[in-house]
Symmetry: C2
Subunit: 317 residues, 2 copies
């Protein structure tokens, strides 16, 4: 468990002993009586993004990271509350660009703006609280069983690699095109709303990968008192990340570390027992391993050799 | 209209054209279908509070400014989502104190913690989204009629005076006891939940005074296309603020300016037509004026002379 989760467990979990909170173990709270799920996420300058990022993109990312929580619950998003704190001197221009992006994604995802709060501040601070509706059911389980398969959507690790390349241009040899694609994944994730909803009544559990694949797997392994086994050659990689492996043969392990533990992919991670079948219409899903008796997460390479990592995921603390 | 409201009207209101938002004209959004009201408010270091303020008090104030919005809607608060961003180095100690205060006010006001998000940041940033339930009705009107009386709860101006005294010890002659009381009102407002609820089906409209009495009155006057007339000798003052008038005879106008336009009182401001009667069990309510045909806000002293102010209320921009 990372430091952030430890702080939450120690100080906030004791205050969240109610059924709606799902004991802070899921991606959102669940109000069964109202068929509502609600989640909230922040984005802070110099922690989640640099000052230079286009406010238009920031707005979209803020919406999408929150939508990703709604996707993980299998709900349909309806609208949100927005808190904006920005420096006084740039308020007009910044707000114009920010609300242009906001409007585009509100249309794309059919969302309403319900309310919010605005303030000035030295650095940009954003928080969004999103509401989603359910049909009397959502992904409220946070554990799995032995022999259940481990599945992910899309490609894993692009956002983490994009983050490293954005922070340090020289860390890897990489074509301009691939660099752009990896950073694009970081700045503009794709919430997997349709997959999350189609998995309802089927998957053991479902979550989004916000803090890195290993961190999310460790959590579920711990909650389920089981061992997650995953295979490097089953992990879906984008063309851009494959290029990184080819062009940086001496840094293969470093690249895997980032892919496995880098945050902000916002793909879905879910489990299916052998009896549970994947909807045939679902595209872009990969089985990357399975749960067994045991503890923690074990990673194997194509020769069956265990791959050891230095860290499991991202933590703010 | 202050700059903050202008920015909201220009950039955010066009995105909030839905009935739940109440067109951003009220203290919370209203989900009639679910009998829910939801509101959100932020508190930011160096904007809303100084670093030195006890986290225990910050937690209570954060809860109470949000409860004040629920009070203004006449709803019953049920629980909240919490976003916390704090510097890494003080996370343990700060969180311990903060959650101690949180726990006390959660118990006092019977609130649940539903979820949230946590991050590190250079300065403290807090946001809270609160939920309240209604019985199929709430204060959703944001206008009033001619001849309606203007009423407030509690005493007006204490928080504003407390803020000035906290920022500059020497601004006014003031006893230590009075200074403490005024600052206490700033740090620990009392949400008027019971009054807000008792006014349901009775008051023309109801709001909380977060940005200053004149700012709130100007807004309602504009929405109603009416003129607010208020009388200085009817405005309820605390013993502490009365002491300030006595001890600072040359600064009487400055003190009135602060009382009328200082923010953060979190008292309720509401209107009753002549037919609407106040519940006899309601204590601590003062009638301070009435609405008439005309525009804007006019203030009269005890001799019937008009009192002119330099500014109407607080704005972050």
């Amino acid at each position: 468990m990372n430091n952030e989760k430890k702080l939450i467990e120690k100080y906030l979990l004791p205050l969240a002993q109610n059924k709606e909170s799902l004991f802070l173990k899921n991606d959102a709270a669940y109000f069964k009586k109202h068929n509502l799920v609600i989640s909230t996420d922040m984005m802070i300058e110099d922690k989640h993004f640099k000052k230079c990022v286009d406010p238009n993109l920031l707005a979209k990312k803020l919406i999408r990271i929150n939508l990703s929580d709604i996707a993980a619950m299998g709900a349909v998003p309806t609208g949100f509350f927005l808190n904006i704190a920005i420096p006084k001197h740039k308020s007009q221009c910044w707000l114009k660009n920010f609300t242009t992006g906001l409007k585009l994604d509100m249309k794309k995802f059919n969302l309403k703006l319900y309310g919010g709060d605005m303030s000035s501040s030295d650095k940009i601070f954003l928080s969004l609280t999103i509401l989603g509706k359910t049909d009397s059911y959502c992904h409220e389980k946070n554990y799995t069983k032995s022999n259940s398969g481990i599945f992910v959507t899309g490609c894993i690790g692009d956002a983490g690699l994009g983050y490293e390349l954005m922070s340090n241009d020289l860390i890897f040899n990489c074509s301009t095109k691939s660099k752009k694609r990896l950073i694009q994944k970081l700045l503009l994730p794709e919430p997997r709303l349709s997959v999350g909803k189609k998995l309802l009544n089927n998957a053991d559990f479902c979550t989004d990968i916000s803090d890195g694949l290993l961190e999310e797997l460790s959590f579920i392994a711990k909650q389920s008192n089981k061992q997650a086994n995953i295979f490097l050659d089953k992990i879906p990689l984008s063309c851009a990340s494959k290029e990184l492996f080819t062009k940086n043969k001496r840094k293969v392990n470093d690249i895997w570390e980032i892919i496995l533990s880098g945050g902000e992919d916002y793909e879905l991670l879910f489990c299916l027992s052998k009896k549970q079948k994947l909807d045939k219409n679902l595209k872009g899903i990969s089985k990357i391993g399975y749960f067994s008796s045991g503890k923690g997460v074990r990673i194997f390479d194509s020769k069956g050799k265990e791959f050891k990592t230095r860290k499991s995921g991202f933590s703010h603390f």
